[in-house]
């Protein structure tokens, strides 16, 4: 095993959570966009964006290595910005959201995991850099 693996210790739990969010967000947005995109284009598109971000982070975490770690870190930051932006947007302008997204109300429908996940992810990815190079 390489020393720059990100899937070890807390990273394993993180990959599980990101994997679950990927499966959830992807199936949700595929279903929504395929069956009733016209009803609420904005929320469904944003759910699809969230899905792509989750899949990419899961992939980079599993792949490991310094480049992947940086990419995952940047995506977690983008994810946090997305959650906060969409979350605030849904609170201030509910009319734009006839249906909710994964990131609506800061991830209320997903037990607030969407807002907690990127923060824990970034903490782990920072620590992974300090611990990793011992080869």
């Amino acid at each position: 095993m390489s020393t720059d693996q990100l899937v070890k210790g807390p990273g394993m739990l993180l990959v599980w959570l990101y994997g679950v969010m990927s499966v959830g967000a992807v199936s949700r947005s595929v279903y929504e966009i395929a069956t009733r995109f016209d009803e609420a284009p904005l929320p469904y598109s944003l759910s699809a964006v969230a899905a792509v971000v989750y899949v990419f982070i899961t992939y980079t975490l599993v792949r490991g290595g310094e480049t992947a770690r940086r990419a995952a870190f940047a995506c977690c930051a983008a994810e946090l910005v997305g959650v906060l932006t969409v979350g605030t947007w849904t609170v201030l302008d509910p009319d734009a959201f006839p249906d909710s997204t994964v990131w609506s109300e800061f991830g209320f429908g997903y037990v607030f995991i969407p807002v907690l996940l990127p923060v824990t992810g970034m903490m782990w990815l920072r620590r992974a850099r300090r611990v990793a190079p011992v080869s």
């Binding site: 070890k8 394993m12 599980w16 037990v111």
Partner: protein
Amino acid sequence: MLNALTLTVSLAALALAAWCGFAAYRDQPTKDWHFIGMAVVTVLALAQLVVGVVRLAQGGEPDEGTVIFVAYLVGALLSVPAAGFMSLVERSRWGSATVAAGALLLAVLEVRLHDIWWKG
């Protein structure tokens, strides 16, 4: 859906989550007994899937649609085994924590399954 079965699966999943969460708290990896527990919970989730499919075959109509209903049934079946396999790779407290998270997810999925089936 069978309410009694949904409740049984949920409670068993919560018990498994507490058990593995305790192992993580005590800094222990998952052990054989945990895997027997996961097997029991998985068999219950499989029974739930069978009951759900039989109900559909009998002409039952889930409130939020058949596709979503079946997707949740399959997700519920897979959540604990997937976390179990990951805990085989990660032989530390974090493997136990992953199984606890998988079991919690199963409990949440059971609640959602109940919502999807019933008009409410």
